[in-house]
Symmetry: C2
Subunit: 289 residues, 2 copies
Amino acid sequence: MQTIKDIAEMQALAEKWRRAGKKIALVPTMGALHEGHLSLMDYGRVEADFLVVSIFVNPIQFGPKEDFEKYPRDLEGDSRMTEKMGVDVIFSPEAAALYPSSFQTYVNVDQVTKHLCGASRPGHFRGVTTVVCKLFQIVKPHLAIFGWKDYQQVCVIKQMVIDINMDVEIVGRPIVREADGLAMSSRNVYLSPEERLAARSLSESLKAALSLYNEGERNSEIILSKVLAIIMQHPIIKIDYVKLCHPRTLEDITVIDESGVLALAVWCGNTRLIDNCILEESKNDQNLT
Amino acid sequence: MQTIKDIAEMQALAEKWRRAGKKIALVPTMGALHEGHLSLMDYGRVEADFLVVSIFVNPIQFGPKEDFEKYPRDLEGDSRMTEKMGVDVIFSPEAAALYPSSFQTYVNVDQVTKHLCGASRPGHFRGVTTVVCKLFQIVKPHLAIFGWKDYQQVCVIKQMVIDINMDVEIVGRPIVREADGLAMSSRNVYLSPEERLAARSLSESLKAALSLYNEGERNSEIILSKVLAIIMQHPIIKIDYVKLCHPRTLEDITVIDESGVLALAVWCGNTRLIDNCILEESKNDQNLT
């Protein structure tokens, strides 16, 4: 396994691979890798000839009051994990190289970013799409793999790729959960034992919603009330949003027709957590425990 | 020569060329080709193995009151000219294919777009950078060639390419002029005989500015006054802007230090015309007649 920091070096290597007819997979991450990330690498390892994992805590996707400074960083631990996964290259550029002082160009997806986390975190998705667009130009992947835990992120990136005609396949992979159901996240390390316990209620609430759905309930209000009731048993948790929305446009829906996404974001103490599940007849096999 | 309308077909062909180790040059145009365009093709023909000319009147770079509808279109004439120039592919997609109804993603260069034409034509450069970014993903060129007549456009695209880490070389080529000095433009066909005569004053004013500069004048105000005095002899012409600016940031300069760009835009009757010249010691060989 090779670690590359230099942008031109990564780009030249990617170009060499492509010329040789090799297939490149990219797993873009902010490091602090966990089993969720590993499942993305697993997929890439099978599908491509060369697997690149980018590790970059992207400053422009954090708001001024968000956790950019304290976001967990562990390049050594990450390297051990990626080595085991058979990753070919870790690409970990410097922020000053990706964003020199003259930097002034942004990629913006207008509509699908207006909802959910986009509404709570102004500028967040502009930062995400800009850095992902840059990484795609540098690593030149044939496919890029993201976790459905960040449901809206996958939607936004798919939209960008279609709109800008990028020749990259975007693959979303299922959420990986802790034994008690909590969706894996690099931010879970922020949680105190008490918060960690309360955080269970997120996946429990989704499970309850899925049960209602499987019993035939299609009314958003009823399903959302159930979810809220379960989470709000824990005063340590503050709701950011709990929404039932269209799986592609992310607009609110009042009744689930073909399918809906139940997406939520909460503050568990000072830690922002998100989770989601899909309510769809063909998808009632989601493992929420 | 091949004409391709289909985006996926163009992208697959470009990918095939790249895999075979071939070098691709792109000349992006809105058609209504003239000798200025031909000089760009000349350069691409020499530098690359495959030369693609895109012909697409890009709706999103026109303002609501601008000349999108009446912009000259002549695909047959254009085809004859490109055939003669040894172009390999004309890429002429449909607007509905590049901008389907769900389209919502834009590339925006923030600062260098604020000046000159960017100030007069809100949204214009967002349309330019978005379509050029799309064309780069589809045609996958190693180099793309633009005319310096659109000085700001070249600056904006160079900035985008640097910021987004696009693996494309941007080449700017000298302005090509009519016998009397008028910079070639597809819009020149709009001019009435009277307007056509008055339009000479643009290059005449630049020539006068260049003379002043070559005599040692470095003060912007003095140079700009001279330019304005020459153009304003023609009441049929309304000034949009006449500016002396930094050649990269395009910010106004009051004194020419290492170099400056003299850029102007006017309304000649109902036709908007632009022109420019560089005031720089190494560049006093510009052919303005």
